[in-house]
Symmetry: C2
Subunit: 341 residues, 2 copies
């Protein structure tokens, strides 16, 4: 450590008390001069601020939070940090909240509901300013803690169920329907859906269900659904082969992620299938690669960073105005037509 705790010279961090002494005022005045400057006479205020600056005073957030009953921490729980959708949401949230003095505490549960519960419990014991979780599907325990936590609770990235408090996301089911409709309207009858870890990812499952629903409604036929083991590019190729084996003559496939779709494109090339003439491919995510793949990938775009911005705005709003109420916001998805479907 740059500086050992018990070293004789360990220069104890400067506290508010020293600032008070140097400025020749009371502790309370320092506190006020720093937190609500307009309740202090200009003279004292500047005197205090100068003293603080000179001493390099940095308030102890822990002590402040104990006295203040709430920490400037926002707990956010996502399934995974390497999933670029959530990364985009987090990046946006950090940007907006850091500016206002809030810090993000980040947890990840890898689609494990029990783990989510443990993290929620841990976060809740920090008296955070807000708690943000992914999705609306939680254990009873999680729901209990969330309901008992006296701060805004936001469930993001979903809109298919009622939120506990505030919900900000979109309907995954509708995203799936949109894909199904797009295929049905082009007259495709033999179609399939390839989803990553459908067994664990409830939102991907909702999209798959929406897809089947709409395909069934519009064409009267059942879509094949295939579960890929991960959202890696390589799985897309494997899934394509599986689809063509289980359902020869498939004319269109929707994926639960762009990477899977691109992987399928590569494999299709190897199999000699022309895209989109022999086979239409539709992604989900609108990652950068979708624009530049060859041919450019048609895809469904979830509002990844918009969610982050909306969540941050909502939190700020709720904290500023205690009378502000919960909301249930559907940010919707868009079909981006490029050349594969």
């Amino acid at each position: 450590m740059p500086q050992t705790d018990n070293s004789p010279a360990a220069p104890r961090r400067v506290r508010m008390e020293e600032v008070a002494k140097v400025a020749g005022v009371s502790l309370a005045t320092v506190s006020r001069a720093l937190k609500s400057p307009d309740t202090v006479s200009e003279k004292l205020r500047t005197r205090v601020q100068e003293a603080a600056a000179r001493l390099g005073y940095a308030p102890n957030r822990i002590a402040g939070s104990l006295a203040g009953a709430r920490t400037p921490l926002v707990g956010v729980i996502v399934p995974s940090l390497t999933n670029s959708f959530f990364a985009a949401t987090l990046e946006r949230m950090t940007e907006l909240l850091e500016d206002k003095g809030y810090q993000l505490m980040i947890g990840q549960h890898a689609y494990d509901a029990e783990r989510e519960e443990r993290i929620v419990a841990a976060f809740s014991s920090w008296n955070p300013s807000a708690l943000v979780v992914t999705g609306r599907d939680h254990t009873r325990g999680t729901v209990g803690i969330l309901s008992a936590t006296p701060c805004p609770v936001i469930e993001m990235w979903d809109h298919d169920a009622r939120p506990l408090d505030t919900g900000i996301g979109f309907s995954n089911r509708e995203a799936g329907r949109l894909a199904g409709r797009h295929f049905a309207e082009q007259g495709f009858r033999s179609v399939a859906y390839v989803g990553a870890i459908l067994d664990k990812d409830g939102r991907a499952r909702s999209r798959a269900e929406g897809f089947r629903e709409e395909v069934r409604r519009l064409t009267g036929r059942d879509a094949l659904v295939v579960n890929a083991g991960s959202r890696d590019l390589g799985e897309g190729g494997a899934a394509l082969k599986q689809v063509m084996t289980q359902q020869p003559g498939t004319r269109a496939i929707a994926f639960s992620g762009d990477m899977l779709a691109v992987g399928a494109m590569f494999e299709a090339a190897r199999m000699g299938l022309r895209i989109p003439d022999d086979l239409a491919l539709l992604g989900y995510g609108d990652l950068d690669i979708a624009v530049h793949s060859n041919p450019p990938l048609s895809t469904i775009r979830p509002p990844h960073d918009e969610i982050g911005a909306a969540v941050a705005r909502h939190i700020l709003h709720r904290l500023k105005d205690p009378a502000a109420v919960p909301e249930n916001i559907d940010l919707g998805v868009r079909l981006i037509r490029r050349q594969t479907a």
Copy 2:
């Protein structure tokens, strides 16, 4: 909020005192029974634990931290959350540290040193258990705060300069040299380096410099260096065109990111250049896509998640054993030869 603060029925969170009362013991015993169970007789321990469970007691971390002088928080500052390298590092760190009861506070500075300083200052005022920053290039102010913070400080993702405390990463310069050597050894004389935001990203700049150095040393010629505006796939194509204009006849290009390299592959196809016969391409990152691109991309692999694991392990070690000392660990990079170079 699930539960309004000032609602008449707001059931105050249960405190340690209530548990003590119910269990019929003192406050201190509850604290001990919960934090260091083996210092308490089995009888009382179970009695306390039962009481705590029955009352749904959750300790207030803030109070605990104030009294204990250190929070179970680890502050981590990265340039960007959407950069999959850092995401991988963070994912690994979270995994390992969450298990031991630590929470990550995450900040991002977008390659802005002033912003880094502000975040470091903010984090430091939480009395974190450890502080982790990216790189070894900081403002004087940042260095000052970091040096004065009484906790382990880890500088990760670099190894080109001396660390303040502990350093865990690899030499970016050496990564660049490796690329240059690889080209030189194959007899390429007209080569180029394409880096993303070299003006801001010092580590990418180090790689570019290492590349030039080694190329100059082995071939006696100067490599062209081109700066791409972002690490997006699309920029790779643009950069390729620029290289071929500025230095017609270029035989090999190294990139500061796999996405750029893949973008260049797409563009090369459009330009009718065969890879690697007409032009060799070398990426950096070893992203999933490198394996599955067509042809598979040769690349330099930085130890993204290994860094996360090593950082977490080091922190845990330092915290467990106060006598543990700083380290300076070089995790190295590997050249992954596939088919483009």
